[in-house]
């Protein structure tokens, strides 16, 4: 096996948050010990609900936010500190796209110069080569030269996200982080962008971190999937297998909560309680207050992410044989 392109080792990101006007600052562990690797050309999907830390993970991996613990290595070398010249050079090889394409584009500039901007910044090619590259990029994401002359507000949401994608691809990155890239789009447009992402990923051999709350879209795009809950990965594995046979009770609930046309609401696992509050992390397994299968030990013992089957890791005391039966281990 080749060395991973991206290797993330135990990253953590903490914030201090004050609750109310009088509250004492509370530490929020938005990301709390997340590790994964990504080979060149591979896509890892991250799913989770609000407060799971999935977006923060993406930002820390790219160095947009510093990690309070752990490390990120890109192509075998540790990520240089943000803002340095090496980091900027490195950043040309890794790009990010967000949920809101209008916010990511400059409203005062037509599309083409914005797609061209990274080429100017990183001084790639001469005048003619850059123009040709912009035309090629626009074509690649399914926009015409005419679209390139328009301003962001003159495009539809799907077209804007294509423009953002073209700009992200300008520097021929090896690694792309997509944070909810299609959530703001209409259903029929979502499919266009998903297909485009799948095609680009295959054609260009991009490694991709695809962050979304939408299980279907994540499965469509990703080879592997990690499920996050309260800043940690609770389950990780092959995308098809993980959604077909979820092991962790939270993944099971998520999968059964995904509405499916043609299925009547019947044996759905409905979780009690609200999404967890990162400022008030439960003891032991963070999922235990909502878990339909929680045992008393779940309140005390923090489950570790362990391999439960080949290529499948889960953090749950129910499936962690070693942790579940400490007595036998002692004997």
């Amino acid at each position: 096996m080749t060395a991973p392109l991206v290797s993330v080792d135990g990253i953590a990101r903490h914030y201090a948050m004050r609750r109310g006007l009088l509250g004492r600052p509370v530490e929020i562990r938005a990301v709390d010990g997340v590790s994964f690797t990504l080979s060149a050309g591979e896509t890892l999907g991250i799913v989770g609900e609000s407060g799971s830390g999935k977006s923060t993970t993406g930002r820390v991996v790219l160095g947009l936010e510093p990690a309070d613990a752990g490390s990120v290595a890109f192509d075998g070398a540790a990520m240089p500190a943000a803002g340095t010249a090496t980091w900027r050079r490195q950043r040309a090889r890794m790009q990010m796209i967000f949920q809101d394409p209008l916010g990511a584009l400059d409203r005062r500039l037509p599309i083409a110069p914005q797609v061209r901007e990274p080429l100017d910044i990183h001084e790639i090619g001469d005048e003619k080569a850059r123009a040709a590259r912009v035309a090629d990029l626009l074509d690649r994401v399914g926009l015409s030269a005419d679209h390139g002359r328009r301003f962001p507000h003159e495009l539809s949401g799907g077209q804007r996200q294509r423009a953002v994608l073209a700009r992200a691809l300008a520097t021929k990155p090896d690694f792309l982080v997509c944070d909810e890239p299609i959530s703001a789009l209409d259903v029929s447009i979502q499919a266009q962008v998903v297909n485009l992402l799948v095609d680009l990923q295959a054609d260009l051999g991009l490694a991709m971190l695809f962050i979304s709350h939408d299980l279907r879209v994540v499965r469509q795009v990703s080879r592997r999937v990690a499920v996050m809950y309260l800043g940690r990965i609770v389950e990780e594995g092959d995308a098809d297998d993980l959604f077909a046979r979820p092991v962790h009770p939270y993944t099971r609930a998520l999968v059964s909560a995904a509405p499916t046309p043609g299925r009547r609401m019947a044996d759905r696992v409905v979780l009690v309680g609200d999404p967890p509050d990162p400022a008030d992390r439960p003891s032991g397994c963070a999922f235990h207050p909502r878990c339909p299968m929680a045992m008393s030990r779940c309140r005390e013992v923090e489950p570790r992410l362990t391999e439960v089957a080949p290529g499948r890791r889960a953090a749950c005391l129910l499936v962690d044989a070693a942790a579940a039966e400490p007595r036998e281990g002692a004997r």
């Binding site: 004050r18 109310g20 006007l21 009088l22």
Partner: protein, 311 residues
């Protein structure tokens, strides 16, 4: 809550201290009171004596410390012009100023807020455009222009009202109207936009969707929300009860704090100017404190920032 209010009060005191310090420095640097008060014919000896008598020969830093210590003792200094305590001079002018500014505030609130609400409820109609047209006129016309225009119309042409002086309430009518109109215009615009903002909120639609009659949607749902920004504006106007009268008092020769300030500044009567600034800053800061406190009543979100959540 108490800790919060104490914190705000401390910050308020600091604000007042900064304002008067700034004024102190600027006033002393900009001109020599000895030259201004004694006039160009004064002999050098007189000037030296005057400076010595008022402590102006010390460095500005020493002057400042002396002055600040005096304030802490409650001594706001003595007028260089007529030798009476500055606080007395200011205090005897305050009623005259309030006699203008309080009725003017009533006009601002009494006309501005209803007009703003009314315009917001008839958005885009002739009514709305008329109210807003008047409002724009009301606050783009400087108060001295408005004051002089009113004098021209009601005193000079019609002869209904006196153009100045303070003999009885009739003399107060024109200055009060002059002050009230501009503020009412500002408040009308402000209230209108606050109301429009609230009326566009989803909870207004919710209220209608559950069958609340429109009048009650306005009174029970829209107004309590629109009140929050409007109170800020009213608070600001209350804060300027003292300071807002300078121009109008001058135009109508009304013997209030504003005119005292103009005279004191032109004579570099330092103690009086500083005393007025202190009073003005204190009113401003106090009304801000009251607004903050009112916020807590009007907006439950500020009472406790935390989501208590039901577990």
């Amino acid at each position: 809550m108490i800790r919060y209010l104490l914190g705000r009060a401390a910050r308020a005191l600091l604000t007042v201290a900064l304002v008067v310090t700034f004024a102190f420095v600027v006033l002393r640097m900009s001109a020599d009171p000895a030259l201004v008060i004694l006039g160009p014919e004064a002999s050098p000896e007189m000037i030296v004596a005057f400076r010595k008598a008022w402590g102006l020969d010390e460095s500005i830093f020493v002057q400042y410390l002396d002055w600040f210590r005096a304030i802490l003792r409650g001594d706001l200094g003595i007028s260089m012009r007529d030798g009476r305590p500055a606080i007395e001079l200011v205090a005897e002018r305050i009623p005259a100023t309030l006699a203008l500014t309080i009725p003017a505030l009533m006009i601002k609130i009494g006309i501005g807020i209803p007009a703003g609400i009314w315009a917001s409820l008839h958005r885009g109609t002739m009514v709305d455009r008329a109210v807003m047209g008047l409002a724009v006129a009301g606050f783009t016309v400087p108060s001295f222009v408005l004051g002089l225009t009113l004098v021209l119309i009601f005193s000079v042409w019609l002869g209904w009202l006196p153009s100045g002086g303070q003999d009885n309430w009739v003399h107060a009518v024109l200055p009060i109207v002059t002050m009230g109109v501009g503020g009412a215009a500002i408040l009308a615009r402000f209230t209108r936009s606050a109301m429009l903002e609230v009326l566009g909120q989803p909870f207004i639609r919710t209220a209608s969707a559950k069958g609340v009659p429109w009048g009650r949607v306005i009174r029970g749902h829209a107004l309590p929300n629109a009140a929050i920004p409007t109170v800020t504006m009213v608070g600001f106007m209350v804060g300027t009860l003292m300071a807002g009268a300078v121009v109008v008092e001058s135009v109508f020769s009304w013997p209030g704090v504003g005119r005292l300030l103009v005279v004191a500044v032109s004579h570099r009567d330092l103690a009086v100017v500083q005393c007025i600034l202190l009073v003005v800053a204190a009113t401003m800061v106090t009304s801000n404190l009251v607004v903050d406190f009112l916020y807590g009543f009007l907006d439950p979100r500020l009472r406790s920032g935390a989501r208590t959540g039901g577990h």
